[in-house]
């Protein structure tokens, strides 16, 4: 078990925390924050996986996953801004 394996366990625990928040969150924005946490932690896991395998291909995946997470957040935000109902 190498150092990168040891570093991956807290990241998987963080993904579990984000999943718990995304399933349980009282409002839709809590779910969105949980999914944001999952996206960034999966970027970290991909980084550790690339270091373990010794390839640099996964850096492109890092860029793609980051932009996808940001676009999904912006799309949901615009949708919520345009809707008329008041949450809460």
């Amino acid at each position: 078990m190498s150092f990168y394996h040891l570093l991956a366990f807290p990241l998987l625990a963080a993904i579990g925390c984000g999943l718990w928040r995304a399933l349980r969150g009282p409002t839709i924005l809590d779910r969105m924050l949980g999914l944001d946490l999952i996206v960034v932690c999966s970027v970290g896991v991909a980084l550790l996986l690339g270091l373990e395998w010794g390839t640099a291909v996964l850096v492109d995946w890092v860029l793609a996953i980051t932009l996808l997470g940001f676009l999904s957040t912006v799309a949901l935000t615009i949708y919520l801004m345009k809707s008329e109902d008041r949450q809460g």
Binding site: P10, A14, C17, L33, D36, C41, L47
Partner: protein, 104 residues
């Protein structure tokens, strides 16, 4: 030289994982949506940037511009996303947490 940079890369990776764990604890434990956005927007940005910096030290100079671009993307996207989510919560009057001393 290379041993020192490898050690520095490991330390940066460990610090990044620590900060991301702190962000996860904040997302689970904090009472309010705005507080959770605060945890995500700061600790998560710094954590993933430190991890990318450590990996950049590991890979060497050939991959360096791609990693710098990735760090720039993290610093551009995560705080902006957190700010947008907080803006929706403020405009649409989502429920907010009050300290117990100020509750009526």
């Amino acid at each position: 030289m290379t041993a020192i940079s490898g050690l520095l890369a490991d330390v940066l990776l460990g610090l990044g994982v620590l900060l991301m764990g702190i962000a996860a604890i904040g997302v689970v434990r904090l009472p309010d949506m705005l507080c959770r956005a605060h945890a995500v927007g700061k600790a998560l940005t710094l954590g993933i940037s430190l991890m990318l910096l450590g990996a950049m030290l590991r890979y060497g100079p050939a991959q360096q511009p791609k990693f710098l671009l990735a760090i720039l993307f993290q610093f551009l996207t995560i705080p902006v996303a957190g700010h947008l989510v907080s803006l929706v919560a403020y405009r649409k009057r989502f429920p907010r947490w009050r300290p117990p001393s100020r509750q009526r």
